[in-house]
Symmetry: C3
Subunit: 209 residues, 3 copies
């Protein structure tokens, strides 16, 4: 399980760094900014989670995530024209959705195992792990954040984390199966949103005054 | 005293969630964004305080604040037209001022009791508890923050925290009375600012260039 | 060494507060905002570093940094027309570059001595110490952050931290000399950037779309 978790983290980290960089390269950012913002997108959410949990920051124990995020960021900067091809970019969006699903369930799981503020806090920290890095990036890059965008991104993540916490609570014997199902559920919803370009329905959006 | 503190926190949390949501619903935010930003407004300040204090995050020990903030946020979203009636909205502003007064003194008190960076840090952490959540909300929602707004909000909070720290230092036997007086002082100044629409005097504002 | 570190911190803190305030006074900020943003510029980076390190926040142990930052901020507010004279302002920019060099090496050193995530994390935390406060200020003041500005600021800081970590790793017997050389190296590059108005070369900036 620890082995799987490690590889899951690897894939998600790289996906986040690539999409994180692609989200800002249209703004005329320099290579240093790309490194900083790619790194923050990839490891920012988990860092905020660990700070709130008062657990050792995950990348102080295993630097591989940091190296990968930095490497993926540089690569994306120099191969931007490759990654922004519509076909490839779409693929990256799916990867990013997969990364969000993985990070969310990992984050909820970590909080649950530390008995941190059950039952609500693991849901919050799962969401923080998945979207916190992107929020930090957007704030530092002066972009509109995900929270104001009406994208179906954080909502699938939230439902998945709620489902996972319910499984941990009521059917703890199915933790492993539950984690896989919740990840796939988040990814499925997110993939549907990408494929059909779904957004938050109007009735759940406040009227602009 | 612990009992009173608990109820004080309840009222302040709800007031912050309601005014926190009302501050952003004019920007076309979706229900998920409302939940996140309402929650952050209500518990963000105390969370930053506890992170700096390296104390257990307050909502990991008692989830009731989180539930209330989420509930108040949803309610505000669906009953927005009720809350934005001028009369009700004004009432909410007073409630919010009361919440800020309570959170400020509680925050300063917590830092003082942990002997954290006396005598200056309890003042800073009282202010952080009262305004930190609103700052986080504004940054994530892309709004101008309180710090740039010339509202008489953080200044009464600061004076109240300074007065409370002076009382804790020189007249520790009057801690309880002092905390009530400082809360009422903050609330009184804030209420006056709301009632007469007072703002920071021009001589204390830098000239725009 | 501890003695020198203390005085270094004093100078850097004051320089950061002054330049931090000058960066925002053209936006019509009030005295309270000046105090908050001056303080955040001066002690924000070290605070984020200590939170990530899970070390006691440095200003909880010695309040002198907070007093100085507040004092320098008030002074800058009232003597703004003095500090914005081209000659004096230029001098302040050099002071600020000196402060960044000091804070960066101090931050990297602290992380290294705590064996935090060697070898990469000390570099990251050195950079965070030097630029974190300015980033927080810009976000709260609604300014474009340093990361998006193409200034040659964070890049010299990063190179200095990398060089210092290499020295700590391969020539630990030269720690003291190395720290001085790396500080001077950062300051030299930053001073050159100020003097000749150097910016990040175009080939390292993504095209605006």
């Amino acid at each position: 399980m620890a082995e799987i978790n490690f590889w899951i983290g690897i894939i998600a980290t790289m996906a986040f760094a690539v999409t994180g960089v692609l989200a800002i390269t249209d703004r005329g950012v320099d290579l240093f900014g790309v490194l900083v913002l790619g790194l923050i997108t990839a490891i920012g959410g988990g860092t905020i989670r660990d700070i709130i949990l008062e657990a050792p920051i995950f990348w102080s124990e295993n630097q591989v995530y940091v190296w990968l995020a930095l490497g993926a960021s540089v690569l994306t900067f120099f191969a931007e024209s490759f990654f922004t091809q519509p076909q490839i970019y779409r693929w990256m969006l799916y990867m990013d959705g997969f990364g969000a699903a993985l990070f969310a369930i990992q984050g909820a799981d970590k909080a649950w195992n530390m008995h941190f503020g059950l039952p609500l806090a693991p849901v919050i920290l799962g969401v923080v792990t998945a979207i916190g890095g992107g929020l930090l990036r957007d704030v530092l890059a002066g972009r509109k954040t995900l929270i104001m965008s009406h994208e179906l991104y954080a909502i699938p993540v939230s439902f998945g984390c709620i489902a996972y916490v319910l499984i941990l609570n009521f059917w703890p014997q199915y933790t492993l199966e539950g984690s896989v199902i919740c990840m796939l559920g988040i990814f499925g919803l997110r993939a549907a949103a990408i494929h059909w370009d779904l957004r938050v329905p109007k009735m759940f959006i406040s009227r602009t005054r």
